[in-house]
Structure formats: structure tokens, C-alpha cells
């Protein structure tokens, strides 16, 4: 095409700007949608990663002491380290650890850790401090700027020295967003931040923390291997930012590719269709050009240039608008979320260009075929080929009341069998695809619904120590022989001798016969008010079961869960009570059937934990809100005597029995059995046992040395009753001296105490009835996952009322022991120690589980998670919606587009009939009605799009017929 012709050609295009604009808009829309899909795909990933960076910092590994290791410093993977200095652990006013250190942070460190101020500013002088919210809360401050903050620490972070306690007072100048309880390794970095000069004034030595980030040039995405490689070269432990780098962002690549291909096919088809339609309209022009002497080559070139002009201009504009729109939207999101993630990658641009190129090639192929078809020169006078005569033979008779029907039937038939059949087959195909997609989505949703009630995560507040399960047992024979083998562990002895273990009932009877021998004091025993019994413990340890570590008396810290509740993807958090520390017995109990031999430490030389057993508690009880829904679910597992009221009042429970270590069910526990829930075993005042004993709670343990916490001490501290505690200790000490000797020798023993020790160790606190005993199978585990996330060998489900009664009874016992009423502050109080979290669908792409797990780890909460399973189902739902939903949408759009095009063609072909009907006096609504019957009949082949088809075609018919 020469210059002059080009000029004329473009002027011609400009002259037809309205027509050209129409094609351009359609082309632009197609290109817009393709670009949108690509941008969504990329930025959804970037968003998730950016959120993780924001929350957990962008560092890759952390070194928590010394100078930077050469291996790390010189690593090809890592940037130069950034530093912070720590000067010791912070303690609160009661000298409890506040989790975190005091120290300074360099600006580079803060940037890499993404630590930002929520309010105020960084410290500027030696008297100022900035802390994160969690640290302030743990120290008991509300975060008001200007507040005086007392930081307690030990000299050189070493509390074992004499007079090591130190404190410093600062003014709060800034508050950071939380990180000390969010980061898994948050306790290693300063959460009380002061200036470096202020740090030097502390009576403590500096220890450095170094953060290393990954070099931008690192293309290897196997971060774990990089970390292992780095760690392999260092003897000390370095911490890896697993929260960020082990996190797999949601983004179904296959589905994204599928969507991209689908949208591209539709887009390219639509682009090509637009251009072809446009070129059809231009046929007359090109024929005329040919008539006045233009060669085929010139015409071809003109068509190509016109196509390319439209496709490139509109395609680029469409993509540009999409990018601009996405940028604007992401700007808002970035501002709202406080992160930066938007990216337009080279891949996106290349794919956009590729789409336009494919459209150009497609339209060019059509172009070529059109030019080939138009062999010979077109003349204005050439007439259309006359249609071959169609012979009609209609059976229906035209009557006054069937004109509309007959008219549509005959007009429709005159369209030809091919078209009528084609439309129906196409609609049927669309129906099939929609049903297929719907079924797939529905199956994914159904699968998800089946596990929807299951909690994503169940967290337990473990007590500060774990207790081995201790149950009373002995035999007549063992007692006799034991006297001669007093140095031998009783259980070991019994097992060596293959002495049968007998039931508790038998034991009591037979033991009574041996009372006299027992009185000799050659062995340990305890005495109830009624009888003397031999104390032989069966001890469950962590080879075949794990020690109990949750009690009703230590509640969960809800403050961190308040933060969890705010996370994107968390739907709800519910609280309940769970315990694994309490011992049970029942009247017909049989230790053999229980599999007690295996629970003994002596029964196995192997120190290895037994897979499938070692992670199981011996006894667990779930105390739940007894609502009707729960009752109805449990009813199926209970006998006929199980009624709502007795369940709600805590009189009846359901017991689940799992296979013992011999893979057998214990059938000694039966429906109707009274289950004796023992008291918590508390240490008597003044007892000389070490606090490290794993069998006791120690009520008056001060908690600083041997044991850091206990529930009573915690309760007292919370209420600032330290003085009261000391007073009790004094009394206990005075009584204990006498008590201890009395108990051991039984000379002059005060009857006040004799029964109490038995009660504490083996006494029944409450004894609800087992309304149902269920042997646990995988199926039952699955059914009850949401109620019982963690099955023990014996698991009870009871109402919360039972737990309340247990606490009351425990208090009564404690009062008996101490001989006076306990102050309210020291009474056992039922506390929620379990939380269950449910996620919603947003959890799939919000890294929710990852973040919640880190929160739990940071707050010393043990948890079990179903999230992986639920996440799989949730992701399946999302993927199904994406894959099949978009396919369905695409098919519906294509269906509607084709039907609309077909309708327009039909109207064009039937113009003469419409005109004739008008001339004969048929109104517009009558004519529309005639055609709408045809529409209805065809739409019925795809009922899903029927309403849309009817509406669209009604609009098209009405508007087009008006124009005729």
C-alpha cells in the first residue's frame, strides 16, 4: 500500500469512526478481560506473599547470638545481615517472663523485620522505650504514651546468682504492632526497644541478633533446601523464617492456566468474530476497490492493515485500561492493608501481546479464505443466487385461534432442519456442560459440607506440668512377695513373676485380708477411713500413652485469640473444657483388659515412642455446652435411659473406648457403669516430696525454682494475694512436719488426715453413669471429629455442669485438708482451656492456618489441626468454583452470544415476513409473540439459560421489529 493510498485508507477509516469504534469496543473488552485474568492470577499470589512478609518479616534466617557466621555472611544466597542487640529477658512485676527481651534495633533491622509503630515514635533518649502491644499487656500496661514502664531483668540475664534482680524505668514513647507473640521466634528479638546508649546502662551484657534476607538474585524456590544447606555448615542453631518461606500461597496453577486458555479462546474468538463481522460489512467497499482496478494483493494488504490497526489499537487500549484499573484497585487494597504487592510482570505483558497476535493470525486466516472465496469481480448488479424451491407440507390447519402457533411453527420450520436441529443440539450440549459443571461444584461443596462442622483447629492450654496416670492396684500374692522384694519396683516384680493383674474390686476384698501385714509398714500404703489399702501404682507413661497435661483449672489466654479472631479467614472461635489429667476407675475395672501391662515403664525396654499410641492420652474428657443439638447427636450412641436432663445435669455421660495397646477393646466398662472421676491429686501441706514429682499438683509451690507455675499460685498472683500464699505456706509447714511422720508410721495419726490422702489419690470426686459405651472405630472418629478432636484410650463426653460439680467437690476436699474455708481467690475455678477455630473459605488464600499455628506456638498452646484436610476440601470448592464455575459462565455467555447472533440473523432473514405481518395489521407485540414461542421452544432445551435467553431475545426482537 503506497503512501497516498494509506492516507486515503485511514481517512476512510476515520470517516467510518462510529462503525470502527463499535468493533474496537468489543475488541477492547475481550482484551480487557484477558488482561484482568492474568493480573488477578499474578497479584493474588503477590498479595498472599506480601501479607506474610508484613506479618513475619522478610528475613530468611535469624542468628540469635554472637557475631555473624562467616558461612552466612559469605553465602551466595544471603544479603549482608542487619543487627539488633538484646540485653536480657524482660520480667513482669511478679518476676514472670514477659516473653521477649529488652534491647535496641537498627532501622535496617526494623525494615527487614517489617516492624512498624502503631503510634508514637521511636526512643530518642535514654529514658524512652517503645514496646509492642503484647509486651505491654504482659507487663500490665495499657499502652498510653507517656506512661512509666518498669522493666525487670536479671543481672546478665542470669537469675541463679545472688541478688541478680534489676529494674529500669522508662517513659513509653511508641507502641509497635504485635510481633513478639506473632513471630515464632519473637522471643529472641527486642520487644522493649530502647536506644543503644540506654542499653549500655543496663546491668547486663549485650547479645546480638542478626537477620539475613535472601538476595534478589536467588531464583531457587526450594527455600527449605537452602536453609538446610546453610544450617549444615553451622554448629549452632539458626532460625528459618518458615512462616514466610515454607508457606505455599494459594493459586491453583492448572486451573489458572485452564482459565487463561479458556478466556483466551473466547477472547480470540470474539476478537476474530468482531473483525470478521466488520470485514463482511466492508466487502462491498473492497469489491468496489477491486472494480476500479485494485489488485487482490492490494485488497489483502488493506484488509490486513485494517484488522491490525483495530486489533492492536483496541487490544492495547483494553489491556492498558485493565492494568490501570487493577493498579487503582490494588492501590486501595495496599493502602487498606498497609502492604505493597502489585506487580505487572513481563509474563503478563507477553501473554497480552500473544493474545493479540493470535487474534491477528486468526483474522488473517479468515481474511485469506474470504479473498479466495471471492474469485471473480463482484458487480453491483449481480443478483443473489435464487434459493432452491422449498416444498412445504404442513399438517396443522390455520384457524383464528392458532395463528400465532401455526405462524411460528411454519416460520421456524422454514429455517431448515439443519438450523433447528443445530440450535437444539447446541442447547442440549450447553445443558450437559452446565449440569456437568454444576455436579462437580455441588460435589465439591457437598464434600466440604460433610466436614464443615469439623473444626479447623483445636487448641488446648496445657498445664505447666504433665501427670502420669496413677491407679491403685495390687494383689494378695504380690503383697506377700513384695515384703521380700521391697527394693524392687512393684510393677516390675509383678510382671516378672507373671502374676495376674486383677480387678480393683477383687483387690479391695483381698487386700482387706492382708490388712495386718500391711500395717507392718514394710511398704508404702495409704489408708482410707474404712480400710487400709496397698498403694501400688499403675503408671501410664509416654511409650504407650502420653501423660495428661490439661486440667480444668488452667484457662486459655484469650487475649491472643482475640487477635486470631481478627484474622482474615477465621470464621469463629468457640471455647470449651477438656481435661486429660484426671484418673478414672469404674467398679468392674480390669487392668488386664485395659492393657495395663503395656502402660508400665517396666513392660518395655524400648525408649522409642510407639506410633499410634504414644500420642494418645489414657483418659480424656470433653465437657461441652449441653444443648439439644449435641444431645441429639450423642443419643444414637447411648442406651434408652439417656435423657437430656440427666446429660445436662452431668449425671450421665457417653464413654468412648478405643483399642488398648493389645489391639483389643476393654469390655469391662459397660453401659450403666458408674465412672469414678478422681480428684486432682494435690500435694499435702508440708509434704517433703520434691516439686518435680510428676504425680502431684503442689498447691503452695512458690513456683520460682523447681516448678515455674501451678494453678493455685497463678490464681493467687493474679489476685495479688502473694502475702496470703506465704501465710498458708507457713501453716502448711507447721502442720506438715507432724503429718508426715504420722502418715508414714501411723502412730498417733490424726484421723483428720488419714482418709484425706486416700481421697486425694484415689477418691471419687464425681461418679456419673455411662449412658453409652462406644467402641471407637475410624468411622466414629470421623463422625465425631468436631466434638472429639483427640480420642484417648478412654474418652468421655459430658456436660459442662459435671466439670462445675468437679470443681466444687475439689474445693470441698481442699477445705477439709486445710481445715478452714478457702478464700474465693484460691478456690478451684472452672476455666475454658480449649478453643476450637473454624475457618471460612477465605482461609484458603489468606494463609490463615499458617498464621494461627504460629500464634499458637508463640503462646505455648498445644493444638491439633484438621486444617490440612479441610483446606484440601476448601481448596477443592474454590477450585471447582473457578474451574467449573468459569466454564459454566463461559458456556452460558457463549450460548447467549450465539443465540443473540442467531436471533439477529433470523430477524434479518425474516424481515419480509415481519413487514408482511405488519402490512396485514399485526401489531409489534403480536409479531414478537410469534417469535417468542419459537424462542421458548428452543430455550427449553437449556432450561438453565431459559430466563436469560427469553429476556435477551425479547429485547432483541422488540427493538429490531420496531426498526423494521
Amino acid at each position: 500500500m503506497n503512501k497516498k493510498l494509506s492516507k486515503l485508507f485511514y481517512r476512510g477509516m476515520w470517516h467510518r469512526k462510529k462503525e470502527v469504534a463499535g468493533v474496537c469496543i468489543a475488541t477492547m473488552l475481550a482484551s480487557f478481560f484477558i488482561t484482568c485474568i492474568l493480573l488477578f492470577q499474578e497479584n493474588m499470589y503477590q498479595w498472599q506473599v506480601a501479607e506474610n512478609f508484613m506479618r513475619f518479616g522478610s528475613w530468611f534466617v535469624m542468628q540469635s547470638s554472637g557475631e555473624p557466621y562467616n558461612t552466612l555472611k559469605n553465602s551466595i544466597y544471603l544479603d549482608e545481615p542487619v543487627e539488633a542487640g538484646v540485653y536480657g529477658t524482660i520480667y513482669n512485676r511478679n518476676w514472670d517472663k514477659a516473653r521477649g527481651c529488652i534491647g535496641y534495633m537498627t532501622p535496617e533491622f526494623m525494615e527487614q523485620a517489617n516492624i512498624e509503630l502503631d503510634k508514637g515514635r521511636l526512643p530518642e533518649n535514654e529514658k524512652e522505650i517503645a514496646c509492642d502491644w503484647t509486651t505491654l499487656a504482659k507487663l500490665g500496661y495499657n499502652g498510653q504514651l507517656g506512661q512509666e514502664i518498669v522493666i525487670k531483668y536479671y543481672q546478665n540475664d542470669n537469675k541463679s546468682r545472688e541478688d541478680p534482680e534489676r529494674q529500669a524505668v522508662y517513659t513509653l514513647c511508641g507502641v509497635f504492632g504485635d510481633y513478639s507473640d506473632v513471630w515464632e521466634y519473637g522471643k529472641y528479638i527486642p520487644c522493649g526497644v530502647i536506644t543503644k546508649e540506654a542499653c549500655e546502662q543496663l546491668d547486663s551484657k549485650e547479645s546480638k541478633v542478626w537477620l539475613y534476607s535472601l538476595k534478589n538474585t536467588v531464583r531457587n524456590k526450594d527455600y527449605n533446601s537452602i536453609y538446610n544447606e546453610l544450617q549444615g555448615n553451622i554448629t549452632s542453631k539458626i532460625f528459618y523464617n518458615t512462616s514466610v518461606y515454607d508457606f505455599e500461597a494459594w493459586g491453583p496453577k492448572d486451573i489458572y492456566n485452564y482459565i487463561y486458555i479458556l478466556v483466551m479462546i473466547i477472547g480470540v474468538a470474539s476478537l476474530t468474530y468482531q473483525v470478521i463481522g466488520y470485514q463482511h460489512g466492508r466487502n462491498r467497499f473492497y469489491k468496489r476497490i477491486q472494480l476500479i482496478g485494485a489488485s487482490k494483493k492490494q485488497v489483502h494488504m488493506m484488509r490486513l492493515v485494517e484488522n491490525v490497526t483495530i486489533l492492536v489499537a483496541a487490544g492495547v487500549l483494553g489491556s492498558f485500561i485493565a492494568m490501570f484499573g487493577a493498579r487503582a484497585l490494588c492501590w486501595y487494597l495496599e493502602w487498606y492493608k498497609g502492604i505493597s504487592f502489585f506487580k505487572i510482570t513481563a509474563a503478563i505483558i507477553l501473554k497480552c501481546i500473544l493474545t493479540i497476535l493470535i487474534a491477528i493470525v486468526m483474522s488473517e486466516l479468515v481474511n485469506v479464505s474470504m479473498i479466495r472465496k471471492s474469485s471473480g469481480v463482484w458487480t453491483e448488479n449481480s443478483k443473489k443466487k435464487s434459493k432452491s424451491k422449498v416444498s412445504y407440507n404442513y399438517k396443522g390447519k390455520l384457524k383464528k385461534n392458532n395463528l400465532t402457533w401455526q405462524m411460528q411453527v411454519r416460520i421456524s420450520r422454514s429455517s431448515g432442519l439443519g438450523q433447528r436441529l443445530g440450535v437444539r443440539i447446541f442447547s442440549l450440549g450447553v445443558t450437559a456442560v452446565i449440569i456437568f459443571c454444576f455436579l462437580n461444584i455441588s460435589n465439591a461443596v457437598k464434600d466440604y459440607k460433610s466436614i464443615e462442622n469439623m473444626y479447623d483447629m483445636t487448641g488446648f492450654q496445657q498445664s505447666d506440668r504433665s501427670l502420669e496416670y496413677t491407679l491403685p492396684m495390687t494383689t494378695k500374692y504380690s503383697l506377700e512377695n513384695y515384703i521380700d522384694n521391697s527394693n524392687m519396683d512393684t510393677m516390675k516384680y509383678l510382671l516378672q513373676k507373671q502374676v495376674p493383674l486383677i480387678t480393683r474390686d477383687e483387690y479391695i476384698t483381698k487386700e482387706q485380708e492382708s490388712n495386718e501385714k500391711a500395717k507392718n509398714g514394710r511398704h508404702t500404703y495409704v489408708k482410707s477411713n474404712e480400710e487400709v489399702v496397698r498403694q501400688l501404682d499403675i503408671t501410664a507413661h509416654d511409650i504407650y500413652c502420653k501423660p495428661g497435661n490439661t486440667s480444668l483449672l488452667k484457662g486459655i489466654d484469650k487475649s491472643f485469640l482475640d487477635k486470631v479472631e481478627q484474622l482474615n479467614g477465621v470464621e469463629s472461635i468457640t471455647y470449651s473444657c477438656f481435661e486429660s489429667m484426671r484418673n478414672w476407675t469404674w467398679d468392674s475395672m480390669d487392668y488386664e483388659k485395659m492393657g495395663a501391662r503395656r502402660f508400665s515403664k517396666s513392660s518395655s525396654n524400648s525408649k522409642d515412642k510407639m506410633t499410634g499410641y504414644a500420642d494418645k492420652y489414657l483418659y480424656t474428657t470433653y465437657y461441652l455446652d449441653a444443648d439439644k443439638i449435641l444431645y441429639d447427636r450423642l443419643k444414637q450412641y447411648a442406651g434408652s435411659g439417656f435423657d437430656y436432663d440427666s446429660f445436662a445435669d452431668g449425671e450421665k455421660i457417653i464413654v468412648f473406648v478405643d483399642k488398648n495397646p493389645y489391639e483389643q477393646y476393654d469390655d469391662s466398662i459397660k453401659e450403666g457403669s458408674k465412672i469414678n472421676f478422681h480428684y486432682y491429686n494435690v500435694l499435702l501441706p508440708g509434704a517433703d516430696r520434691k516439686m518435680s514429682s510428676s504425680s502431684y499438683f503442689n498447691i503452695f509451690d512458690r513456683g520460682k525454682d523447681d516448678v515455674e507455675y501451678n494453678f493455685f499460685y497463678d490464681a493467687a498472683i493474679e489476685k495479688h494475694l502473694e502475702d496470703k500464699i506465704y501465710a498458708y505456706q507457713l501453716v502448711a509447714s507447721e502442720r506438715g512436719r507432724t503429718y508426715q511422720s504420722l502418715l508414714r508410721t501411723e502412730y498417733g495419726a490424726s484421723s483428720e488426715y488419714l482418709g484425706l490422702e486416700y481421697d486425694m489419690k484415689y477418691g471419687t470426686c464425681v461418679s456419673p453413669e455411662a449412658a453409652g459405651v462406644v467402641y471407637v472405630t475410624d468411622e466414629i472418629k470421623n463422625e465425631l471429629k468436631d466434638i472429639i478432636p483427640d480420642f484417648g484410650y478412654y474418652t468421655a463426653v459430658a456436660s459442662k455442669k459435671l466439670a462445675e460439680t468437679e470443681c466444687e467437690k475439689q474445693n470441698e476436699l481442699l477445705e477439709k485438708i486445710y481445715g478452714e474455708e478457702l478464700p474465693e481467690e484460691l478456690k478451684c475455678e472452672l476455666k475454658d482451656n480449649t478453643f476450637t477455630i473454624k475457618y471460612n473459605i477465605a482461609a484458603s488464600y489468606s494463609a490463615t492456618d499458617n498464621i494461627v499455628q504460629i500464634y499458637c506456638k508463640s503462646n505455648d498452646v498445644i493444638f491439633t489441626t484438621n486444617s490440612e484436610l479441610k483446606s484440601e476440601y476448601r481448596t477443592n470448592v474454590l477450585n471447582a468454583f473457578l474451574e467449573y464455575g468459569i466454564t459454566m459462565l463461559a458456556v452460558i455467555i457463549i450460548n447467549l452470544l450465539i443465540i443473540t447472533v442467531l436471533t439477529k440473523n433470523r430477524i434479518e432473514n425474516r424481515t419480509d415476513k415481519i413487514v408482511l405481518l405488519k402490512r396485514l395489521g399485526a401489531g409489534r407485540s403480536r409479531i414478537v409473540r410469534i417469535f417468542m414461542i419459537e424462542v421458548l421452544r428452543e430455550s427449553l432445551w437449556c432450561v438453565f439459560t431459559l430466563p436469560l435467553q427469553m429476556i435477551i431475545q425479547f429485547i432483541v426482537y422488540r427493538s429490531q421489529i420496531k426498526k423494521i
Partner: protein, 227 residues
């Protein structure tokens, strides 16, 4: 004036073709009497078809009014106009305008069905008889000759006894012999059924069959055969 069935007064119509305006009719007045067979002649582009479309209610003038049986047709709403067309107007076109999917008889019956009336079968048979196409009653248009199709169109037009029948070049697609038959039929219908027929033609011989001839010259309607 009592016999006046159609009164078109001050009809003007201008077509816009790009930047050029073409005046098809210039304030034309024309009256048609009941039972009169009028031929409108004129050169190509003189405005005769425009006039027929306007007085036949298929198009609206820029100016002027059209009254048929004393009713101003352009004051009517769409629905009223459709009813008016069904009852008062019949059309005959050069392309016969028959539904190919319907038999000759059914094509004639369509206007009755549109009006939800029973078709007078005997009367239609009579009309078919008088037009000489009884044998075509059950045939589809594709099974008939051009002349026969046009006579079916005439039969359809006169069967409903409209006040006016408009015929636009009814013989344009016919050979001389068939054209003559059609012209005779129109003339016969006018007389036998006392119907007003307004026919546009450029064929002077056809115009000779009419009772009255109007000529359109440059958008003005004039009495008589002027060329």
C-alpha cells in the same frame, strides 16, 4: 364530499441522504372516492411509492394529515393503527408478499385470524373463483405461477373488505399477459366489491385500466396522465 374515503392534505416528505436532502413530496393534497380505482403514475424517484406508503399508513409524512373514513391515521397509537390496518386497508405488492409456508387459502385467511375472526370460506371460494384461481386454494406459493400468486394477494386484499386497497406495482414482476389479467381483476374487484383501489405503477397500459390517473411530478400530485 360524502364519497371521499381518503383525504391526504399537505403531505410533505424529505429524505436525508448524507448531506443531501431529497424532497419526495411537496405539500401534496389528494382525495380518493369510495369504489374508485385510481392509478398513480410517475417517473422513477418521482415520489409515487412514498405517497403510497404514507397514505397506506406504513410511513409518516414530515407534514400533513391522512384521513381514512374521516379518521386521522397518524393520531392513532401503534395498537390502534394495527387494528385499523387489519380492518380498513389491504395491500398488494409487486413481490406478492405471500407467506411461503402457507397455502393460498391460508394466506387469504391470515388477516381474519389476526383479527380473531372466522374466515368466510364460501365467500373466499367465490373470490378465488372470480379471480380464476380456485385450483390454487390448497397450493403453496412455491407451487404457483407469478400471476397466480399475485391474484392470491389480490384475493387476500379484497377478502376482508377493506376501505382502501393499496397496490404497489402489482404487475411489476409479471409478463404482459399475466399483468393484464391482474389489472382486469383489480378493475373487476373495484366494481364488484365497490372497493377503493389505489395503484402505483409506471406502466401506462396498466394505468389505462384505472378510473382515474394521478401523476406525480417532482413531488407534486397532479390530476391526469401527464407523460
Amino acid at each position: 364530499m360524502e364519497n371521499i374515503i381518503l383525504n391526504a392534505a399537505g403531505i410533505s416528505k424529505t429524505y436525508h441522504a448524507g448531506s443531501v436532502d431529497v424532497e419526495a413530496l411537496k405539500k401534496s393534497d389528494v382525495l380518493f372516492k369510495k369504489g374508485e380505482f385510481t392509478a398513480i403514475v410517475g417517473k422513477s424517484g418521482s415520489g409515487k411509492s412514498t405517497l403510497l406508503r404514507i397514505i397506506g399508513t406504513m410511513d409518516r409524512p414530515d407534514e400533513g394529515t391522512v384521513e381514512i373514513e374521516g379518521m386521522n391515521v397518524f393520531e392513532m397509537k401503534d395498537k390502534q393503527l394495527s387494528k385499523f390496518r387489519r380492518e380498513k386497508i389491504g395491500f398488494i405488492y409487486q413481490d406478492y408478499s405471500l407467506f411461503p409456508e402457507f397455502t393460498a387459502y391460508e394466506n387469504i385467511v391470515v388477516p381474519f385470524a389476526l383479527d380473531n375472526k372466522n374466515a368466510p370460506e364460501e365467500e373466499i371460494d367465490g373470490i378465488l373463483e372470480s379471480l380464476g384461481i380456485s385450483h390454487c386454494k390448497g397450493k403453496y406459493p412455491s407451487q404457483m405461477s407469478g400471476g397466480e400468486q399475485q391474484r392470491v394477494a389480490i384475493a387476500r386484499a379484497i377478502a376482508t373488505h377493506p376501505a382502501v386497497i393499496f397496490a404497489d406495482e402489482p404487475t411489476g414482476n409479471l409478463d404482459a399477459e399475466s399483468a393484464k389479467i391482474v389489472a382486469d381483476m383489480l378493475s373487476m374487484a373495484s366494481k364488484k366489491y365497490n372497493q377503493t383501489i389505489i395503484m402505483v405503477t409506471h406502466d401506462m397500459q396498466m394505468a389505462d385500466h384505472a378510473d382515474r390517473v394521478l401523476t406525480i411530478v417532482d413531488g407534486n400530485v397532479k390530476e391526469g396522465k401527464l407523460y
